[in-house]
Structure formats: structure tokens, C-alpha cells
């Protein structure tokens, strides 16, 4: 009982910290034209919050249904599909890309591509009567490698100037968020998250393992497929909005598990959303304001997340 109250206190602290980071980010060194600065900054804060919720829910749910702390849904090929789409677009249109395809069109194509890919993958595995989740992952990863090779082949042929359009898409960045997209992305995220949170108690059961879950009367395969669908939507929204951040999910979920002891997913996911928000905003703040670095925050998060993760892999006795 004590532990649970401890977690509750920590949740409030995390929420407080997030508010503090948001305030810091919004109001640090405002300068004279505060309306202008605020107008730019609040868009980034909103985008970061949307991405944080997408990444947090999808990663926690994914790790629960795969019973594994070292997996993240984005390895399943979503990002390869996204990059392939972006590369094809630039490959075909070259420097006309922005004139031919609006941000809206790009967003829609990306989301349809990624969600479509995920559902094809699920169909392929489940229709064949194989309900092995790891098999699903491996097929996803291998397809991802295939797509990556195709993308890098096309990237070789692209004019180096046009390549910068692709390179801009290769790394997640909060510096070029489109306001219109932010609206639709938040709506999709909120609806999916609402459904996901209502189903969160089923995750508590799934966490007990397949046999236990079936024993407790859960339609295991149905439930897993449902969560996989939610995950696909969330990952796609986040990737299409800002670009790929592969290892963010790994970093934040493991941080959350270190800080919070609860096994109730409603609390865990909320905590993870907060932790992700703090990580992203804090990272963005440090990079942008303190170091003036031009490196995209995602490259840094992948770098730091990767190192942290290696440490985690080598430190723990058993995986």
C-alpha cells in the first residue's frame, strides 16, 4: 500500500516537473517581442506533448504485450516505410517536392502507408494461423531492412541538393511543425489514447502472460490484435508529424520502470507520458537554448538512448 501512495506522490512530482519544464521552455529569455516568441514556442510544446503521448502509450503497451523491456514498436518497420515514402516523393519530384505535395498530402500519405503496412503485416501473420508475436516482429524488421535498402539506393541517385529534403525527414525535428497538421494529429492522438486508456486494464491482465490471461477469460489474440492496431495508429501519427525517433520509446519506458514500481497500466502510461514529455522538452531546451546546437534532437536522443540502453543491456543480469 505504501508503495502505491509513493507512486502517486511521484506522479504528482512528475506532473509538476513537466509544468515547470513547459514554463521554462516558454518563458526563458523572452526578449522584447514576447508575443512572437510565445507564438513559436507553444507550437513546439504542443507538438512535443502529442509525440510524447503517442510514444509513451505505444511503447508501454507494446512492451507489455511482448513481455519485453527492450523492444519498441518503431523497430517493426514503420520508420522504414516512412523513409521509403519520403525518398520516393523526392526521387520523383526532386526540388519540386514542396510545390507538388502539400504538407497535408504528405502527412496523409505517410499515415496511410504506415498503418496500411502494419495491417498487412498483421494479416499476413494472423491469417496464416501463426500467433507468434516475435515472428511478427522479425518479419516487420526484415521488411524494414528491405525498404531501407531500397531507400538508400534511391538516395544515391538523388541530387545532393534535393537529398537535403530527404535528410530533413530522416531525423525527427520539432523546428518545422505545421500548425494545421498539429490539429489533426492531436485529434487522432486524443481519440486513440482515450480508447487505449479505457482498455488499459486489459493490459494489466495481458502483463500476466498469455496462459494466465486466457485462463482469466480474456480473448487473448483478439486483445493483442486490438492493441497492435492502436499502437500502429499512434506510431504512425508521431512519425508522420515529426519523423523517426527510434530509441525514444526504449529510453523513456525504461526510465519510467526505474522510477515507478506500479504494475497498473493506467498509472504507468500516465507516468510514461510525463517522463517522455520532460525528456523531450528538456532535451529540446538544452539543445536549443543552452548549446545552440543545430543537430536534430532526435539524433541526440537516439545517441543518448542508445548508450543508456547498451548500459542497461550489459548491467542487468538477465533479460
Amino acid at each position: 500500500m505504501e508503495k502505491v501512495t509513493g507512486d502517486k506522490a511521484k506522479l504528482w512530482i512528475a506532473a509538476g516537473a513537466l509544468v515547470a519544464v513547459i514554463a521554462l521552455y516558454l518563458f526563458w529569455q523572452m526578449g522584447g517581442s514576447w508575443q512572437f516568441a510565445l507564438n513559436l514556442r507553444y507550437v513546439k510544446v504542443l507538438a512535443i506533448l502529442v509525440v510524447a503521448c503517442c510514444v509513451a502509450y505505444s511503447s508501454v503497451a507494446f512492451q507489455t504485450i511482448t513481455h519485453n523491456r527492450i523492444l519498441t514498436p518503431s523497430i517493426m518497420g514503420f520508420e522504414s516505410v516512412y523513409l521509403l515514402i519520403q525518398t520516393i516523393v523526392v526521387f520523383v519530384y526532386g526540388d519540386n517536392t514542396y510545390r507538388v505535395l502539400s504538407d497535408w498530402g504528405n502527412f496523409a500519405i505517410s499515415i496511410i502507408g504506415m498503418v496500411g503496412f502494419a495491417f498487412l503485416l498483421y494479416l499476413l501473420i494472423y491469417k496464416r494461423g501463426k500467433d507468434n508475436l516475435y515472428l511478427l516482429l522479425l518479419v516487420g524488421v526484415v521488411t524494414g531492412i528491405l525498404f531501407n535498402s531500397l531507400s538508400s539506393f534511391m538516395q544515391l541517385l538523388i541530387d545532393p541538393n534535393d537529398f537535403f529534403i530527404v535528410q530533413g525527414k530522416m531525423f525527427a525535428s520539432f523546428n518545422k511543425i505545421n500548425r494545421n497538421l498539429l490539429g489533426i494529429a492531436s485529434v487522432i492522438m486524443l481519440v486513440t489514447l482515450y480508447i487505449g486508456m479505457r482498455l488499459a486494464r486489459y493490459l494489466d491482465v495481458l502483463a500476466l502472460g498469455r496462459d494466465q490471461a486466457i485462463n482469466l477469460g480474456l480473448n487473448y489474440n483478439r486483445m493483442v490484435q486490438l492493441f497492435l492496431a492502436l499502437i500502429a495508429v499512434l506510431v504512425s501519427v508521431s512519425t508522420a508529424l515529426i519523423g523517426p525517433i527510434t530509441f525514444l520509446g526504449l529510453l523513456v519506458t525504461n526510465l519510467t520502470y526505474e522510477l515507478f514500481r506500479t504494475y497498473r497500466h493506467r498509472a504507468l502510461i500516465t507516468a510514461c507520458c510525463l517522463v517522455t514529455g520532460i525528456t523531450l522538452l528538456g532535451g529540446q531546451f538544452v539543445m536549443e537554448r543552452l548549446f545552440n546546437l543545430s543537430i536534430p534532437v532526435s539524433a541526440i536522443i537516439n545517441f543518448a538512448g542508445g548508450l543508456y540502453f547498451m548500459y542497461l543491456l550489459l548491467r542487468v543480469r538477465k533479460i
Binding site: 531525423f171 543537430i295 542487468v316
Partner: protein
């Protein structure tokens, strides 16, 4: 006795197929060369063949055999059929080594380049083996997944530096598996994979035993750590030599050993020659396909191997009983 003859016959058939592919590789290309040109001692044809076609064919042969055998060794060391340079972060590590070389000692010679790539692949393989040993339940598919994540992490660290130095497109270009740049005087490092391959064959029986697990091999009186180190050495040497000469060739070490093991079993002393032959044949065919498909241009072999390899591998895991 008849069994022995049968084996010899099979190997001869494979060698014949390989010979046909190699000959095709010598004569297919933008410049037209015919056998009669060579026989009549046409100087231009001979110089073309010796500068470009023979090095390319040799490099393909060695890379195909070397990468496939590396795959076998890694599969034995981890006791997992899905582990190969592609799925253990080995290729990513070689990439990272090359990038480190470009950043730290850009003007030093190829030997340093080789040393960098070798050191990084060796280190990454040790880390991967350490991680695999910690995996609690050895689900067949889980181990390669961990390896792929491991590779992704190494890749993201390299990317970080590539972005910082603004050489993302260049790094991608170096890494794309491609034999069109293989010319006399620029590919000889790949011969380093030959002793590694021979060493593997020499220790074939011991690698077979290692595939049965640490306890079992120790029980049989095998010096387990020593054999593991030899395996690591051979794999790192081969992979780094191939990556430096021709770039990344994915999937080869994954598919060829599995197909051979389905057809011929798991006694390495018997199957290693098939693995080497099949690897070379497969790579030669992929390269020829890349040369013919958009003639007179070329598709890099990294692309053809990826596409064919991914399809074969997917078929393999989806239809496996």
C-alpha cells in the same frame, strides 16, 4: 564408398555451376569482350579483363564464400539459426569503424582502415555474445531481434556523428554494397578473408561441437573460450575485409547457411564447402542480375541481394514447419 563418390559428384556439380557463373561474370559488362578476343591475345581486352573483370569476379567469389561462412560460424557460436552479420550488429559495427577512420585518420593508408573496421567488428561481436549469454529464455526469434536492435543502436551512434559532419549521403554511398568500383590495386584487402575462411574449415569439427552448447563442448574436452575467440577473429576479419572492399552485403550469411543446412544437414566438415560454393554462386548471380537489369547502367549488389535475400528469408521463416 558410393556415398563418398556421391559427395564428390555433388561438389563437382556445384563447382561447375560456379565456373559457369564466374565465366559469365567475366564476359558480361558494358565493354564487349569475347572469348576469341582473349584467345587471339587482343591487348585491350586482356587489360580490361585483368584490371576490372578478374578482380571483380574474384572479389565476388571471396565475398560470397566469406560472408556465408561467417554466418555459419556465428550461428554455431550463438546456437541460433537466425544469427548472422546482418542480425548481430556486425555490419553496423564495421560501418562505424569506417566512419571512425574517416573522422580520425582520413589520410592514413588502407591498413589503418582495415584495423579500424576489424577492431570495431571484433568489439561489437564480443558485446553481442555477452548480451546473448544474458538472455533468459532463448526464443529462437528473440536473439536476432536483440541483435537487430543492437545494430540499430550502433547505427544511430554513427549517424549522430555523420549528421554532425554533414556526410550522411556520402556514408550511405560508401556503405551500399557495390562491386562496380572493384579494380586492380583497390580490392586486394579482400584476400584477407581467405585465410579466415580456411581457418574456419580447419576448425570445422570444433565449430560443430560448439553449436551444441557451452557445457556440452566443455564436457567433450573442448577449449571453449579459445574456439570462440578463433570464431570471433575469423568473422571479424572476413566481415571487415568485405565491407571495406565492397560495402555492406546483407542477408547472405543468413540465407545460404540455412538453405544448405536444410539440404545437407549440420556436419560442418561436410557442409562448409557447399556453404562457400552456394554463397559465391548466389552473390555472382545477384551481381550479374544487377549488371543486366538496367544495362548499360548497374544496380548496386546491395539492392539486388537485399531484395532477393529479404524475400527468400521471409519465405523461409513464414513457411518453416
Amino acid at each position: 564408398m558410393s556415398l563418398f563418390v556421391e559427395i564428390i559428384l555433388k561438389i563437382i556439380i556445384f563447382i561447375l555451376v560456379l565456373g559457369v557463373c564466374a565465366a559469365a561474370s567475366l564476359f558480361i559488362g558494358v565493354a564487349d569482350i569475347t572469348l576469341s578476343d582473349l584467345l587471339s591475345g587482343h591487348p585491350e581486352a586482356w587489360s580490361l579483363v585483368s584490371i576490372s573483370r578478374i578482380p571483380r569476379t574474384m572479389a565476388l567469389l571471396l565475398a560470397g564464400a566469406g560472408m556465408s561462412i561467417s554466418g555459419v560460424v556465428m550461428q554455431q557460436m550463438t546456437q541460433n539459426k537466425f544469427v548472422a552479420p546482418t542480425t548481430a550488429g556486425t555490419l553496423e559495427a564495421a560501418k562505424m569503424g569506417l566512419l571512425a577512420f574517416m573522422i580520425l585518420l582520413p589520410s592514413a593508408g588502407t591498413l589503418w582502415k582495415m584495423l579500424f573496421a576489424f577492431a570495431f567488428t571484433f568489439g561489437a561481436s564480443i558485446v553481442f555474445l555477452t548480451i546473448v549469454r544474458k538472455i533468459r529464455f532463448r526464443n529462437v526469434i528473440f536473439v536476432p531481434l536483440v541483435g537487430l536492435i543492437f545494430g540499430g543502436i550502433i547505427g544511430s551512434i554513427s549517424t549522430f556523428f555523420a549528421v554532425k559532419l554533414n556526410i550522411v549521403q556520402d556514408t550511405n554511398a560508401w556503405m551500399m554494397g557495390d562491386f562496380s568500383g572493384v579494380l586492380q590495386g583497390r580490392y586486394e584487402l579482400i584476400y584477407l578473408s581467405l585465410p579466415a575462411t580456411l581457418l574456419t574449415y580447419f576448425y570445422a569439427n570444433k565449430f560443430t561441437v560448439i553449436g551444441m552448447g557451452e557445457d556440452f563442448s566443455k564436457n567433450l574436452g573442448l577449449n571453449y573460450p579459445a574456439i570462440m575467440n578463433i570464431g570471433l577473429f575469423c568473422v571479424s576479419l572476413t566481415v571487415s575485409a568485405v565491407v571495406i572492399t565492397a560495402g555492406v552485403i546483407p542477408f547472405l550469411g543468413l540465407i545460404v547457411p540455412n538453405v544448405v543446412s536444410l539440404l545437407f544437414g549440420d556436419n560442418l566438415k561436410k557442409t562448409l564447402p557447399y556453404v562457400a560454393l552456394c554463397g559465391s554462386i548466389f552473390l555472382l548471380l545477384c551481381d550479374i542480375l544487377g549488371r543486366v537489369a538496367v544495362y548499360p547502367y548497374e544496380i548496386p549488389i546491395g539492392v539486388t541481394v537485399s531484395i532477393l535475400g529479404a524475400i527468400i528469408f521471409l519465405a523461409f521463416i513464414l513457411w518453416k514447419k
